[in-house]
């Protein structure tokens, strides 16, 4: 059983362990989940670690109630998280939409496995990336992060909480079976060096606290149940008092702010590694565990004298369209390797506006895409 | 010398009253009646201030105050 202690030293841990420890480092105090391969270890670790620090763990009766409990706990002031995989992620969608609508900070970990349906429960995939954006009904704001190593999983988990609290939005952390289960060498940062953000509170708490106040930032200041301000939270469209409204002006005002909230801070949120070479004609756009194979392939290609620009987003939603566009403008062909049938390639193609030809390299049999495959694809289009 | 009975005060909030008739129906002493879709007091003298109308009004629209 992994424990949060002495992070100084070198350790060999899995992505699921790093996620659990990152969550605690970020201030996690409530976890509700329902077991599912390949995410279960996150719950297992937290069932032991949380009570040790006075936090709460509960295994709910299903994924729907897990998501519900997470929202309830967050509204009561506890940083909250749940973890699941494809089938459970589908079930959580309705309540994820509620969190988006009611602007409740929370983190949803989806350890991607082979789909659709029960699919390939023990094999890796990246095929839930579009669902992470569009899984629930209605236009809604969402943030999705996707690390590519055990070490990053720790940092991204912390960041998931920070973004969630800062923007009052559910944040989805996309892992895959490989990162979740691989043991890697890591040196985790010391507790005191980890920056954690708390939800923005109103500067002056007057009796007429407005839970959905329109402020310059578009992010309403937030306090918790039980702090003496008895406000109302609903999944219906509401005005700044938090109560339902059917007034067109109010509806527009609210829904526009709700979605604008993320759009306007896209540059803050988006994180992308861009590695450009002078007059490269080939671009590679890769994310998650696939981006590691891609990075190696790019190194090899360059060794072979092929100039390649490499772009690797750590955030998929909001989509890094500027960076994708820049890559398209700087190259004539972009290779997008991914463990699905081209979900993100489609977004890159959208962002490219025809400036560069998108070449897909897809794998859907549960095996990670290895560097050689990517190198071959690069050489083919070079 | 004979005491004159002090009558209770019954307040009916017209704007909240939906005229469902529950208070009228269950008043043990037929104190209440209906008028233009709202409850009205028709026989205050019979009122014993038992409060049953108030307790059963779904819309917080009728209040009974014992006076003395």
């Amino acid at each position: 059983m992994s424990s949060g202690n002495n992070k100084k030293k070198v350790r060999v841990i899995t992505g699921n362990e790093a996620c659990a420890e990152g969550a605690i480092a970020a201030g996690l105090r409530f976890f509700a989940g329902y077991p599912i391969t390949p995410s279960s270890e996150i719950a297992e670790i937290l069932s032991y670690e949380l009570p040790k620090i006075g936090g709460k763990f509960i295994q709910m009766e299903d994924e729907i109630s897990s998501m519900g409990a997470v929202i309830g706990a967050s509204l009561a002031g506890a940083k909250s998280m749940t973890a699941t995989s494809g089938p459970g992620f589908s079930l959580k969608q309705e309540n994820i939409g509620y969190a988006s609508m009611a602007e409740v900070p929370c983190v949803i970990v989806n350890v991607m496995r082979g789909g659709p349906s029960t699919g390939l429960p023990t094999l890796a995939s990246q095929a839930d990336v579009m669902q992470a954006r569009w899984g629930t009904h209605g236009d809604h704001p969402i943030i999705a992060l996707i690390p590519n190593s055990v070490r990053e999983t720790f940092d991204y988990t912390v960041r998931a909480f920070n973004l969630s609290e800062k923007y009052r939005v559910p944040v989805i952390l996309l892992l895959d079976e490989i990162i979740a289960h691989v043991n890697e060498k890591v040196v985790l940062p010391e507790e005191n060096t980890i920056e954690t953000w708390e939800r923005v509170r109103p500067d002056s708490l007057t009796d007429d606290y407005l839970p959905y106040q329109y402020t310059e930032s578009d992010v309403p200041p937030m306090i918790s149940f039980g702090e003496g301000y008895r406000f109302h939270v609903t999944g219906l469209v509401h005005d700044e008092t938090g109560f339902p409204t059917n007034k067109q002006s109010e509806i527009n005002k609210f829904l526009n702010r709700l979605n604008r909230k993320i759009d306007r801070y896209a540059d803050d949120i988006i994180q992308v590694d861009e590695d450009y070479e002078k007059d490269a004609q080939i671009g590679v756009f890769a994310y998650g565990s696939t981006s590691r194979s891609a990075k190696r392939a790019v190194i090899w290609a360059r060794e072979k004298g092929v100039k390649v620009n490499f772009v690797r987003p750590g955030v998929l939603w909001p989509f890094p369209q500027k960076q994708a566009r820049r890559l398209a403008e700087s190259t004539s062909k972009i290779l997008v390797p991914e463990m699905n049938l081209g979900q993100i390639a489609h977004e890159v193609e959208w962002a490219a506006r025809g400036q560069s030809e998108i070449v897909k390299l897809n794998r859907i049999d549960g095996e990670p895409i290895n560097p050689m495959e990517i190198l071959d694809a690069i050489m083919e289009i070079a | 010398m004979e005491k004159t009975k002090v009558l209770p005060t019954i307040t009916i909030k017209e704007v909240w009253c939906k005229g469902c008739g529950i208070c009228v129906e269950f008043c043990p002493h037929s104190v209440l009646g209906m008028e233009a879709g709202h409850a009205v007091v028709v026989n205050i003298d019979a009122c014993t201030a038992c409060g049953l109308c108030e307790i059963r009004c779904p819309d917080f629209a009728i209040m009974v105050e014992k006076n003395s």
């Binding site: 030293k9 070198v10 350790r11 060999v12 391969t37 390949p38 279960s40 429960p121 023990t122 490989i178 289960h181 691989v182 043991n183 890697e184 060498k185 590691r292 194979s293 990075k295 190696r296 095996e367 990670p368 290895n370 560097p371 050689m372 | -």
Partner: protein, 182 residues
């Protein structure tokens, strides 16, 4: 020029091969200051447990954590040997338990046959330490990680109270391994 060394430990669930792999990774990563990853494959959902455990050791970043070009393959069962030997390098090492793996796949690789499980039973008296015996053999065969590191890693992983037992098993493995290489 950087190196990448791939080890695959194969057999049945319950033979402690995942632990063995993790120990090798920790030996390399923590005590020999190299990079290392360990991964395994599962059956349906989580149950059935791992049928193979892979360790990659390198002095460089490890981008791809799965074995593709194996330097050393340990096979505790015939099924595992038959199923998993393909990716073994021509100049690689195939280490098999001679009691359980009878028909040996042919290839250019070196083949070492040892009654590992039996040795654990007869010499140590506990077949559950067969995985540690195997680690001893591997430590003596493989130059990229130090014997010392593997021993440290073992001791930091095994349950309190079983240190000596495991030390003995590891030593036994070292002996068996040395015999092979002379």
């Amino acid at each position: 020029m950087s190196f990448r060394y791939e080890i695959r430990l194969s057999g049945e669930g319950g033979q402690g091969l995942v632990l063995a792999g993790k120990i090798l990774a920790e030996a390399a990563a923590i005590y020999d200051d190299l990079n290392a990853t360990q991964s395994q494959s599962y059956g349906p959902e989580a149950r059935g447990g791992a049928s193979r455990s892979e360790v990659i050791i390198s002095d460089d970043e490890i981008d791809y954590p799965k074995a593709i070009n194996i330097d050393l393959l340990l096979a505790f069962t015939q099924e595992a040997c038959t199923k998993y030997h393909e990716d073994l390098k021509d100049d690689g090492i195939l280490l098999i338990d001679s009691d359980y793996v009878t028909n040996v796949p042919d290839g250019k690789f070196k083949v070492y046959k040892l009654p590992i499980i039996e040795a654990a039973r007869s010499e140590i008296g506990k077949i559950i330490v067969a995985n540690i015996v195997a680690l001893g053999i591997i430590a003596s065969l493989v130059s990229v990680i130090s014997v010392d590191a593997v021993e440290k890693a073992i001791l930091s992983r095994v349950p309190k109270g079983t240190e000596n037992l495991n030390k003995k098993a590891f030593k036994l493995g070292l002996e068996m391994g040395k015999k092979l290489t002379v």
